[in-house]
């Protein structure tokens, strides 16, 4: 523990890193605030006050458990307003008794934000049942012709998509935005470079390596403590930014809907994940922590390979950009792109892409989700990095 603390003092618990961390936390809040104000997360926030008031009034009426009353209210209002604007002769002037102040404004609000989302929630279980029926037929056909691989995929679908329904109505745009928010990932990457990239080179530049290698704890214990600190730093940063993001989004939009299933977000209707949105946020934070931990080990390895701090820093930024590009293929249906994405540690930071749709691969006749492939390859990568550390230590005569 003492070694861990000493290593942390050297690289992370420094004034410069802490100042950068505080600044970046402020920047993170600022970025969410600016996006919020510009209406990029919820469009109506960028609209007029009347529209916002109308939105709030309607939302208050319909949010919560889906009942016959809420559904009937929305259908009735949508029909009434559709008829009112259908022939284009509706009044363009402010109207009493409207939600937003204008007839078309009400029609726009109900049509854009509530009606389609409510019909998605209500019809989801029925539509999914139809699709599962199709998959059952597919399973029979594939079994009859001896196609085991396709039958395995059908079985996977039937197992993971059964008994689905959405019982509550909440607007999930804020959750969707939070789950896709990746500005903090860039900040974490930069902070990792600041804290980890100089772990070994700092000692080489000051000639301390020789001294350390001759001490009792200068070999494996020192390496283990450096790895431990790098991983703890990555996990700590991920937790810090995740909690901050959740808090800021919670303050701006509220956390309602956290217990809805993930497929209540329309963009995730095909997700194989059966848990709630809150559980998925925890899962995505865990995956991020894992991805950044592996990336911090990679930065540590780079630091061990060079004598000057400049190179691991530049290479670290390059590796971050390259890993980000490869991670863009996380959900690609093309197999070799999927494999390349699995090589990138940053693919683990893209839980949204990996889980929002059915994305899987086969090995022989076994069907498994893409995340399994990513985890397997990342495990191989970690083992490879540990082997490389051993090689470097032996090479250095420790």
């Amino acid at each position: 523990m003492k070694l861990l603390y000493l290593e942390a003092r050297k690289g992370i618990l420094r004034r410069s890193v802490l100042i950068a961390l505080i600044l970046f936390l402020c920047l993170d809040i600022l970025k969410i605030g600016l996006d919020y104000r510009a209406g990029e997360i919820r469009e109506v926030i960028g609209n007029t006050e009347g529209m916002q008031a109308g939105f709030a009034e309607i939302y208050d009426k319909v949010k919560g458990p889906i009942t016959n009353e809420t559904a009937a209210f929305l259908v009735g209002e949508y029909r009434r307003l559709s008829q009112a604007v259908a022939d284009g002769t509706y009044s363009r002037k402010p109207q009493e008794g409207t939600y937003s102040g204008y007839i078309y404004g009400d029609y726009f609000l109900i049509g854009s934000y509530f009606y389609s989302q409510m019909s998605y929630c209500v019809q989801y279980s029925m539509r999914m049942a139809e699709r599962l029926e199709q998959e059952r037929e597919n399973l029979k056909l594939y079994q009859s012709v001896g196609n085991k691989s396709m039958a395995a995929k059908c079985s996977y679908i039937l197992q993971h998509y059964a008994d689905r329904s959405i019982s509550s109505f909440y607007l999930m745009d804020s959750w969707e935005s939070l789950l896709q928010f990746d500005f903090s990932d860039l900040l974490i990457l930069l902070l990792l470079i600041l804290g980890v990239a100089a772990s070994f080179t700092r000692e080489k530049e000051t000639g301390m390596t020789m001294l350390l290698s001759s001490s009792r704890y200068g070999g494996w214990p020192m390496l283990a403590s450096k790895c431990g600190v790098a991983i703890s730093y990555a996990i700590g940063l991920t937790i810090l930014f995740s909690v901050l993001n959740l808090t800021v989004y919670g303050v701006l939009f509220g956390l309602q809907g956290w217990d809805c299933p993930l497929y209540a977000i329309e963009a995730c209707q095909d997700t194989p994940f059966g848990g709630t949105v809150g559980q998925f946020y925890l899962l995505s934070c865990g995956m991020k922590a894992m991805g950044f931990s592996i990336l911090s080990l990679l930065l540590l390895l780079m630091s061990a390979c060079f004598r000057r701090t400049l190179y691991p820093c530049i290479l670290g930024v390059g590796a971050g950009a390259g890993a980000s590009y490869l991670a863009g293929w996380a959900a690609s249906p093309v197999w070799w792109k999927g494999v390349l994405a699995a090589v990138s540690p940053l693919t683990l930071t893209r839980a949204w892409n990996l889980w929002s749709c059915l994305c899987g691969d086969w090995i022989g006749n076994i069907y498994f989700p893409r995340i399994t492939l990513v985890l397997l390859i990342q495990l191989v990568l970690v083992v490879g990095m540990l082997w490389a550390f051993k090689f470097l230590l032996v090479h250095a005569g420790v």
Binding site: S16, A20, L27, L30, K31, L34, A38, E40, G46, N47, T48, M51, R92, K93, Y102, Y104, G105, F108, R131, L132, Q134, E135, N138, L141, Y142, V145, N147, S149, M150, I157, D182, F183, L186, L190, I193, L194, A198, R202, E205, R308, T309, L310, C313, I314, V317, G318, A321, S324, Y325, L326, A327, G328, W329, S332, P333, V334, K337, N353, C357, L358
Partner: protein
């Protein structure tokens, strides 16, 4: 001293090799990124270029009558070739419509190359990294081995050395930026036509509202100058950060943050007015003029143009340049002072910090929002909805988006595109071999234009993706890459 510093940077610190590596990487990036174009032009490039050769330049009566005649002729033609030519012609015709509103300032031209060079303002990540790789060791290299103390005790090791180092960094920044610009210009020039240097800037429809009455060549020259100035400023800022942080990792961290974060915060206009090099390094936005996007008004009775990029007027541009020059000079001054070990008094530091803080706060709290949207032109492929082999007769029903294979012996019909969890798209053609039925599907899922081709094995009905032109890489580099 100059020679020694020069040798240290380019040879001892592997600067030359680093630069070549970065230039090679940038060349690959430019080749992979390609040029701005539309599908109609890409698929009928020969026809588009032949039209351009005929009518490029200022409009005159003869060109107008020829354009009208061609328009009428293509409208009455039914052949497949004529339809292809029409798609390309309509691109030219749209440009003609734009040009005829102000023929003296708007010429007909192939816009693709210049649009690639002048209408993007994303961060040139490789240039920033290259500048950091070359400039950071100039000061930090000596700090890391404590050589600075030795040097400062020499006769020329104080102000003179600091000035030479700063000059070296500035010259390096100029050379590197010009080389990067040269690589980009060369690759774009080899890919598409870059003629029209002497045409008015407003010939490019993107610059319709630009307040500058320049030729395209002058505008490009101005952009290159801005980028060179931005690179010099960035180099000086790196020196400034080096002498204040004294650590390589801190300087790199601060340099990367300063160059990347302005692109992500607020809207794309913000970076042009912040007193940081990001705006000048991007360069192009100073010439754009206001950009707008149609939006409904409050009561949804009419559509109005809403500014998504405020634009920088020539006067504002001059004002900003003066401000940037002042900041640059302050940084130079403090870099030299700090290097030689003199510290600024509180009477100097506090007002400067206060002014910078107020300036930053003002620009974080103001501005406009939105994004530009690219126009897309869709084309349609030839239809093929029937196929057969020894065992099956296969039919595509484009209305239902289904493919049925009917067994010749048993008469049983089997649905081939069975998966209920497949990508969304419209099937528009099939091709059948003895063992496989291939079907082409146009992506309708909103991830980008493109086609998937799936193959269904006609023995065990397994399905596999055999071709994809759908852009499926969702990486946007945390919002830095548009």
């Amino acid at each position: 001293m100059w020679k020694i510093e020069w040798k240290k940077l380019w040879f001892d610190q592997w600067g030359g090799i680093l630069l070549l590596l970065f230039l090679a990487a940038y060349a690959v990036l430019c080749l992979v990124s390609g040029c701005d174009s539309t599908k109609a032009i890409t698929q009928n490039e020969a026809a588009y270029l032949s039209y351009m050769q005929r009518w490029q330049g200022e409009l005159n009566d003869q060109k107008v009558s020829e354009l009208q005649a061609e328009y009428d002729a293509l409208n009455h033609a039914d052949s497949r070739e004529a339809q292809d030519a029409k798609a390309a012609f309509m691109e030219v015709y749209n440009q003609y419509y734009y040009a005829k509103e102000n023929p003296s300032r708007r010429f007909l031209m192939d816009e693709r190359g210049w649009n690639t060079l002048l209408t993007h303002d994303g961060v040139n990540f490789l240039l920033v990294l290259c500048l950091l790789a070359l400039c950071v060791p100039v000061f930090c290299g000596e700090y890391s081995c404590r050589m600075d103390q030795l040097l400062r005790s020499c006769r020329n090791g104080r102000e003179a050395l600091a000035k030479y180092k700063l000059l070296l960094m500035a010259v390096t920044a100029v050379i590197v930026t010009l080389l990067f610009q040269g690589v980009q210009f060369w690759i774009v020039g080899r890919t598409v036509d870059l003629s029209g240097l002497s045409y008015p800037l407003q010939s490019l429809s993107f610059f319709e509202t630009s307040p500058y009455r320049l030729t395209i060549g002058q505008a490009y020259g101005l952009v290159v100058l801005c980028r060179v100035a931005g690179a010099v400023w960035f180099a000086v800022m790196t020196a400034f950060l080096s002498v204040w942080c004294r650590k390589t990792v801190l300087t790199l961290f601060a340099g990367i943050s300063v160059s990347l974060l302005p692109h992500l915060l607020g809207n794309s206009f913000l970076k042009y007015v912040l007193p940081l090099p990001a705006g000048l390094l991007a360069g192009t936005g100073y010439l754009w003029g206001p950009l707008t996007e149609p939006h409904y008004n409050a009561d949804y009775t009419e559509i109005r143009d809403v500014a998504i990029f405020r634009g920088v007027s020539p006067k504002e541009f001059c004002g900003l340049l003066s401000l940037f020059a002042a900041v640059l000079l302050v940084q130079l001054f403090f870099t030299v002072r700090r290097y030689v070990g003199r510290k600024a008094g509180a009477g100097v530091r506090i007002p400067i910090c206060a002014v910078l803080l107020v300036w930053l706060s003002l620009f974080f709290l103001t501005g406009c929002s939105g994004e530009t949207q690219a126009e897309s032109v869709y084309d349609f492929f030839g239809n093929s909805d029937h196929g057969e082999n020894g065992d099956y007769m296969i039919e595509l029903d484009p209305m239902e988006n289904t493919i049925y294979a009917t067994n010749r012996k048993s008469g049983e019909a089997v649905l081939l595109n069975r998966s209920a969890f497949q990508s969304q798209g419209d099937i528009f053609a099939i091709y059948v071999t003895e063992s496989t039925c291939y079907y082409a599907m146009q992506n309708t899922g909103g991830t980008g234009e493109g086609v998937w081709v799936y193959g269904v094995d006609l023995h065990d009905f397994s399905e596999r993706l055999v071709y994809s032109s759908v852009p499926d890489n969702t990486a946007d580099f945390w919002g830095l890459y548009e």
